[in-house]
């Protein structure tokens, strides 16, 4: 089987290179030298081109046990360092060999139109992520003990998640029904006078880089919740940022993701236009339209530290923004602890109040 993945090797000692979050350069594990991304990129430009040109091969179906669907989604590669066979998802673009630990990049996933436009490199390294997660668990009073202690925190992974960043302008034309109310006293009656207005507002709102995650594997709620990313660090894409981390390519294209971006843009536009209708006691949207003009999408890889835990048959995902450190997660509830705390607070308070008031 032809080699289709590249590891980045140190030009000095051929040791494996991984992307250093603190320095922003590619660092060698063995000799400690660090290299600029651009330098390594040029060095490997030819190699990548050659690798990308190779046609992909289907997974070998030894034994015929995999269903057609599953087989179609699997890819097999061979590790350039140790020759071991790596089987991964059809969207995996960067991974590490489970046998020799070498970080590897699959350039074919990023060839042609699949090449991301930009990337935000990881700023927080694994130890930062681990300690953030430990702190997150510590504060949670209702977390079952076995979850936190048995948790495989060290298995936390840094993943470049594929996102679509939408730029655009929305054009809103909204009709509201507004009322102004006056109340006063006339004789021995209370009179309420309500004036009804039709309020029309038109306007345009520009949006820049509204993110929508393009991977069906990543839950949208988690990805929304770790926003915002600091786009100031958005860099031109290069595979040299990937070693040491996992990366996926998108499996939901921009047309599919546009709907989710549109939903958010529409809500923002409606809110912005409604805010300009001031002085009304009530405002109700009757009709209107929000159209998206000039919509462009950029394909970007954004850094996320992730840990998926399976506990008592349910999946819990913890995600941390690899650039800003914002934590998001859902955790299981220990209801016994909940009720213990509930009565532990309420009963002494009852006793105290009883002494004071009774």
């Amino acid at each position: 089987m032809a080699t289709k993945i590249t590891n980045y090797q140190c030009p000095a000692c051929t040791g494996p290179l991984h992307f250093g979050t603190a320095s922003g350069k590619l660092e060698c594990e063995y000799c400690g030298l660090s290299f600029d991304v651009k330098v390594i990129e040029e060095l490997y430009a030819d190699k990548e081109q050659a690798a990308a040109a190779q046609p992909e091969q289907e997974a070998s179906m030894g034994g015929g046990e995999w269903s057609e669907e599953e087989a179609a989604r699997m890819r097999a590669y061979s590790c350039p360092s140790c020759g071991a066979e790596l089987i991964c998802d059809d969207t995996t673009a960067a991974t590490s060999c489970p046998y020799c630990g070498n970080p590897s990049v699959i350039p074919a996933q990023f060839s042609g139109h699949l090449r991301p436009d930009c990337v935000i490199p990881f700023r927080l390294d694994k130890s930062a992520a681990v300690s953030a997660l430990e702190r997150y668990y510590k504060g949670k009073r209702f977390l079952p003990k076995s979850f936190a202690s048995g948790n495989h925190i060290q298995e936390i992974k840094g993943v470049y998640v594929p996102f679509w960043l939408f730029d655009g302008r929305s054009d809103g034309n909204l009709h509201f029904l507004g009322t102004r109310v006056q109340v006063f006293r006339r004789g021995d009656e209370e009179v309420t006078v309500t004036d009804h207005f039709r309020v029309v507002r038109e306007g345009t709102v520009d949006f820049q880089k509204v993110p929508v995650d393009g991977s069906s594997k990543m839950p949208d709620a988690h990805m929304d919740a770790i926003e915002p990313f600091d786009y100031g660090e958005l860099k031109e894409f290069s595979t040299a940022y990937l070693p040491g981390f996992l990366a996926d390519k998108y499996d939901q294209d921009s047309a599919e993701c546009k709907d989710r971006a549109y939903a958010r843009i529409k809500t923002s536009t409606e809110d912005a236009l409604a805010a300009t209708a001031r002085g009304y006691a009530t405002l109700r949207q009757e009709s209107g339209s929000v159209r998206l003009q000039k919509c462009r999408a950029k394909y970007a890889l954004l850094p996320v530290w992730m840990l998926a835990t399976r506990w008592e048959g349910k999946d819990f995902l913890f995600a941390m923004n690899g650039q800003t450190g914002k934590l998001v997660g859902d955790l299981p509830m220990d209801w016994v602890k909940f009720w213990l705390w509930f009565f532990g607070i309420s009963l002494p308070l009852m006793g105290l109040l009883g002494l004071i008031l009774l």
Partner: protein
């Protein structure tokens, strides 16, 4: 009415004596014994409570030149200089048999002892039912009994009136709606509990509910922190500072609606607010038919 009074003053009241006893029975409703006994009781009350109590019965008030029982009663009271002491305190019940009219008036301290509510109860519950059945001795006897009780209460500092104010209730530890003297009213100073029943229930409720609410609020807040993955609703943070441009606005007036609500006026008159309404002239009272 002024004219009538002038007339009454002008003409000496022919059918009554020069001076009035406590009980004057010109209509002949009572036997001599009965009249005597009632008279003695009335005089006793007057001495005991420094407030005179009178009964006057007439065959026909027209003979006296009166056409309104109330006015005639006040005229009689004034003309005959009725009333105890300097304040001329007293209560007068006047009956006119021909029309079956009555009038009950009070003056001086009588106004204090016999409140509007008290007079209503005295007449409606104790006296008028008996008079209506022509049981005159019994009616007058009840009149004197009730008058005596009211005077006693008044002299104790608590004239018989409608439901007392809340302050009164709390300090005494009782909740009642007017102490009717006909019932066996035994007011004992038993050691009352610190709070009455209603207030205790409120305090107990607060002691139980407030900590529950507080604990619930705190625990729910902690619970919410356990699940922070929430989908985003808006894209507000992706709007650049000059990104919003309003290109058109139009506010068109459509129509006007008006709703009216009558404000409930809590009427101050009309019975159950306690006290006595004293009219000009110094008398309070009412009249009617028996």
């Amino acid at each position: 009415m002024l004219l009538l009074l002038v007339l009454v003053f002008a003409l000496p009241l022919p059918t009554l004596a020069a001076e009035l006893d406590a009980v004057t029975d010109a209509a002949g409703l009572l036997t001599d014994t009965e009249r005597g006994e009632l008279n003695d009781r009335a005089e006793e009350l007057a001495e005991q409570y420094q407030c005179a109590v009178y009964i006057v019965t007439l065959e026909d008030m027209e003979d006296m030149g009166g056409s309104d029982a109330y006015d005639l009663a006040t005229a009689v009271y004034t003309e005959y200089d009725l009333g105890y002491g300097e304040e001329k305190s007293g209560l007068l019940l006047l009956l006119s048999m021909a029309e079956r009219d009555y009038a009950l008036i009070a003056y001086g301290y009588g106004n204090t002892a016999f409140t509007d509510y008290g007079k209503d109860v005295l007449l409606d519950e104790d006296v008028l039912p008996l008079l209506g059945e022509d049981a005159y001795y019994e009616g007058f006897s009840a009149y004197l009994d009730t008058a005596g009780e009211y005077l006693s209460l008044a002299r104790d500092g608590k004239p018989f009136d409608v439901e007392p104010t809340p302050n009164y209730n709390e300090t005494e530890g009782r909740s009642e709606t007017g102490n009717h003297p006909q019932t066996d009213y035994s007011y004992k100073k038993t050691p009352s509990p610190k709070y009455d029943e209603g207030e205790f229930a409120i305090r107990l409720g607060a002691v139980i509910l407030l900590p529950l609410l507080l604990a619930g609020g705190i625990c729910l807040y902690w619970k919410r922190q356990m699940n922070t993955a929430v989908s985003a609703r808006t894209a507000d943070r992706y709007i650049p500072s000059d990104g919003f441009r309003l290109t058109g606005q139009q506010d068109t007036f459509l129509y006007r609606t008006e709703t009216r609500r009558r404000i409930e006026n809590h009427s101050s008159g009309g019975g159950h607010s306690g006290g006595t309404s004293v009219r000009s002239g110094g008398f309070s009272g009412r009249s009617g038919k028996f």
